[in-house]
């Protein structure tokens, strides 16, 4: 230690040669600029593809997307075809998926976060819920086909599709509700317990009201996933051409992405179907965009409260 101090301090020896620094400086700055643009390019890539897609969709649907298109029933003749059936089918689907996932999802989240003892059983369930979120949607379709369509005998009905879709998005609701419940500060629970409240009173009056924005955000994201999902419905056998509008839970139905799927396939037969598909995509994207925006607004509004 002493020797080093003696060496350096009196002579003020410098390890950094300013000439070398000068010489290498331009290369360093150039490299910095290059990587800057590379990263910008990779960011733009996805964005540009999205813009191209949107442009195509909008261009293709001009002249086809109008009030009649939204209110007409399905028809083999492109001029008279509309998507009111698919819109109502999508609403029916939400009527099942919303309440079912809310009750099951929030119930599961409350149990895991508030009631279950943390231990091996708890982490086993937790791991499986996380795994479930990663299961391909077509597998859920097979599950729905086996249980709801065949065993329960619901056929390719709204209730079979809705329950299948509920299973698919349930992990999303559970995980986001868990996060929301976990983010409720412990001191609020303590305040409630400290006054002699039971666990359920604390959950109902303190935890859930505070967790509600997070839970709602998760619910909306789950619903928007369910609206856009196609594969499980293909598996459970949604008809390609369905003209009657569904009136009850046990009716056959179709949804927007299914309509897009069949029109796109059939566009080799009838050219105009491509335009109908594009117009439907625009409707679906608009709905999803609005839902996700609402979720983001709710999240931002309630983010910092404590």
């Amino acid at each position: 230690m002493k020797d080093m101090n003696m060496d350096i301090a009196p002579e003020k020896k410098s390890y950094i040669d300013l000439n070398v620094v000068q010489k290498k400086m331009s290369a360093r700055i150039l490299l910095n600029k290059i990587v800057n643009y590379l990263f910008l390019l990779s960011t733009l890539f996805g964005l540009i593809v999205l813009v191209i897609l949107l442009y195509r969709v909008v261009a293709d649907s001009i002249g086809w997307l109008n009030i009649d298109f939204l209110t007409n029933k399905l028809s083999t003749s492109p001029d008279r075809a509309g998507i009111v059936g698919a819109i109502i089918g999508t609403v029916w689907l939400m009527i099942i998926v919303g309440p079912v996932t809310m009750v099951l999802g929030i119930g599961t989240a409350i149990y895991l976060e508030e009631y279950a003892k943390k231990g091996r059983f708890h982490s086993f369930i937790q791991t499986n819920i996380t795994n479930l979120a990663g299961v391909p949607s077509i597998v859920f379709g097979l599950l729905g086909l086996t249980i709801f369509v065949r065993v329960f005998g619901f056929g390719s009905s709204i209730i079979a599709g809705g329950l299948t879709m509920s299973l698919l998005v349930l992990p999303i609701v559970v995980v986001s509700a868990q996060e929301a419940i976990r983010s409720v500060p412990q001191f609020l629970r303590e305040a409630s317990y400290g006054m002699g409240a039971t666990k359920w009173q604390t959950i109902k009056n303190v935890v859930l009201p505070s967790a509600l924005p997070g839970v709602l955000t998760g619910m909306i994201l789950a619903l928007s996933r369910a609206i856009g999902e196609t594969a499980p419905l293909v598996v459970i056998g949604i008809p390609a051409l369905l003209i009657p509008i569904p009136g009850s839970l046990f009716d056959s139905f179709t949804v927007l992405p299914m309509q897009i799927y069949y029109w796109t396939i059939d566009s080799v037969l009838v050219d105009e179907y491509a335009h109908l598909a594009a117009a439907t995509i625009l409707v679906l994207l608009t709905v999803l965009f609005v839902m996700n925006s609402v979720a983001i607004i709710i999240r931002n509004k309630f983010q910092k409260r404590y």
Partner: protein, 277 residues
Amino acid sequence: MCALTITARKSTKANAPLASDTENTEKNIVMNTRALNLWYGENHALKNINLPMLENDVTAIIGPSGCGKSTYIKTLNRMVELVPNVRISGEILYRDRNIFDKTYLVEELRTRVGMVFQKPNPFPKSIFDNVAYGPKIHGIRDKKILKEIVEKSLRGAAIWEEVKDRLNENAYGLSGGQQQRLCIARCLAIEPDVILMDEPTSALDPKSTLKVEELIQELKEKYSIIIVTHNMQQAARISDKTAFFLNGEVIEYDNTDLIFSTPNDKRTEDYITGRFG
């Protein structure tokens, strides 16, 4: 009188402290801790605690960080059981009933033994709803009765005049000191017998601290108060009895004036004179 007290004190062992003042013998014991041990997993956090606490006293618990004083006060209303892997032996008698008894529900205990926390923790609700929370969960629905309880509790916590015109505003709009008095009002609303306070002024400015201290002096007329404090001047100012905790043990427990003037144990003296802690 003085000589008598000192001889009495000399016979008092640190682990089996007894009330020595003749005046105090007239008061009933409200919470009596007997041979209490507590473990967090393998960590022996409270070691053979024996503390009889008297009715309508302010009992201060002092000691350095990590000495177990917060753990101890949370044991008195069994809040400590929210921590996983807690193991407890011994007993705490609240008015001669063991709070660890299987038939003693925590919900029942906590309506008799209320708690005010270190950080003000009002609910993100209106001032009125904060105070009405306790009565509501215990089944009071009548709006008129709730109003009466809210006013009485807020008056009891010396905050009524400040908030009477804004009862429907969110409690988060209050200052820290007001929030803490609101939390005291919320605690009073369940009409407790004992009030536990876990460093209630540590998050407050000196002016708010003074207000809370004055409030404690008023509250002891009606309630028995057990207060954990980091602040020795505070303990000296407001308490009747003081227990000094160190490493999970009660080193000394006696009348506050004696603890601060002539402590029996060298470690107590070192702590209150600021030599460690």
